[in-house]
């Protein structure tokens, strides 16, 4: 598996998505397509669980930023949670940790966002 995206239903007016594996230059187009469809099909906020994401490169960051911007334009929000250390490091270095809210767990994201 290089990337797997799962929709874990909706809770508190928030779509729960989990991305596993890798978001890189090869898989990012698939991420854009799949998540884009879900964003368009709904009016809720999104929480993306990255607990099983092993790797993200700038192509993946660009995709995440794209989703965040698209939601923001409609007064909706993207929240991330459960980043592994290596993935968190990439978010920190790129400054993304300060522009996209990140929580330790789905529960925390639901409660505190």
């Amino acid at each position: 598996m290089s990337m797997e995206i799962v929709k874990n239903g909706e809770q508190d007016n928030c779509v729960l998505v989990a991305v596993k594996g890798r978001i890189d230059a090869v898989t990012a187009p698939e991420f854009d397509k799949q998540v884009g469809e879900w964003v368009d099909a709904d009016t809720s906020d999104f929480i993306v669980d990255l607990s099983e994401l092993d790797y993200i490169s700038s192509a993946g960051l660009r995709s995440i930023l794209g989703v965040a911007k698209r939601l923001k334009e409609n007064d909706r929000a993207l929240t991330l949670c459960s980043l592994k250390d290596t993935v968190g490091e990439v978010f920190d270095i790129s400054g993304f940790s300060t522009i996209i809210p990140i929580f330790d767990s789905v529960e925390a994201a639901l409660k505190e966002r």
């Binding site: 890189d24 230059a25 660009r62 270095i93």
Partner: protein, 148 residues
């Protein structure tokens, strides 16, 4: 010296990356360090694929080796337009979500995540050299303490 040359096209990115991953694994890095090696290499390769040959087709080569000082060296070579990424200005990390631009991160991540990087132009070739220190026992202990 292990080396892979392929057309600088997206269709070959997976194979180019697989080569680096296997070489890094064979050199005994842990998975966290392998991710950093993969990330910086991917950024450099994607840049060559997207920008080095605006009008023609061309190749990209990757070399992997351990140098005399026990560093893992990845060298990315192309014959495309002269481009020194290390000289490229950093993205504005303080922009808010609306103002934040989607580009300019690749080169920045390379500079931040490789232990060493060097660019040189040799004849018609761009050569980007990335160096990674093999973690010593002490580094690993330190990492354990700071990331409990």
């Amino acid at each position: 010296m292990p080396r892979l040359t392929l057309p600088a096209e997206e269709a070959y990115l997976t194979r180019l990356m697989g080569f680096v991953t296997q070489m890094a694994e064979a050199s005994g890095f842990n998975s966290e360090r392998i991710r950093s090696i993969e990330l910086t290499t991917e950024e450099a390769l994607v840049n060559v694929i997207q920008h080095a040959y605006p009008e023609t087709a061309g190749n990209v080569s990757i070399d992997c080796q351990m140098d005399r000082n026990g560093r893992f060296i990845v060298e990315i070579t192309d014959n495309g337009v002269p481009f020194d990424g290390l000289d490229f200005s950093d993205p504005d990390l303080d922009a808010d979500l609306t103002a934040r631009q989607t580009g300019g991160l690749g080169v920045f991540l390379i500079k931040k995540m490789a232990d060493h990087c060097r660019y040189r132009r040799e004849g018609e070739r761009n050569i980007l050299t990335l160096g990674f220190e093999v973690p010593t026992y002490d580094d690993r202990k330190h990492a354990d303490e700071t990331n409990p």
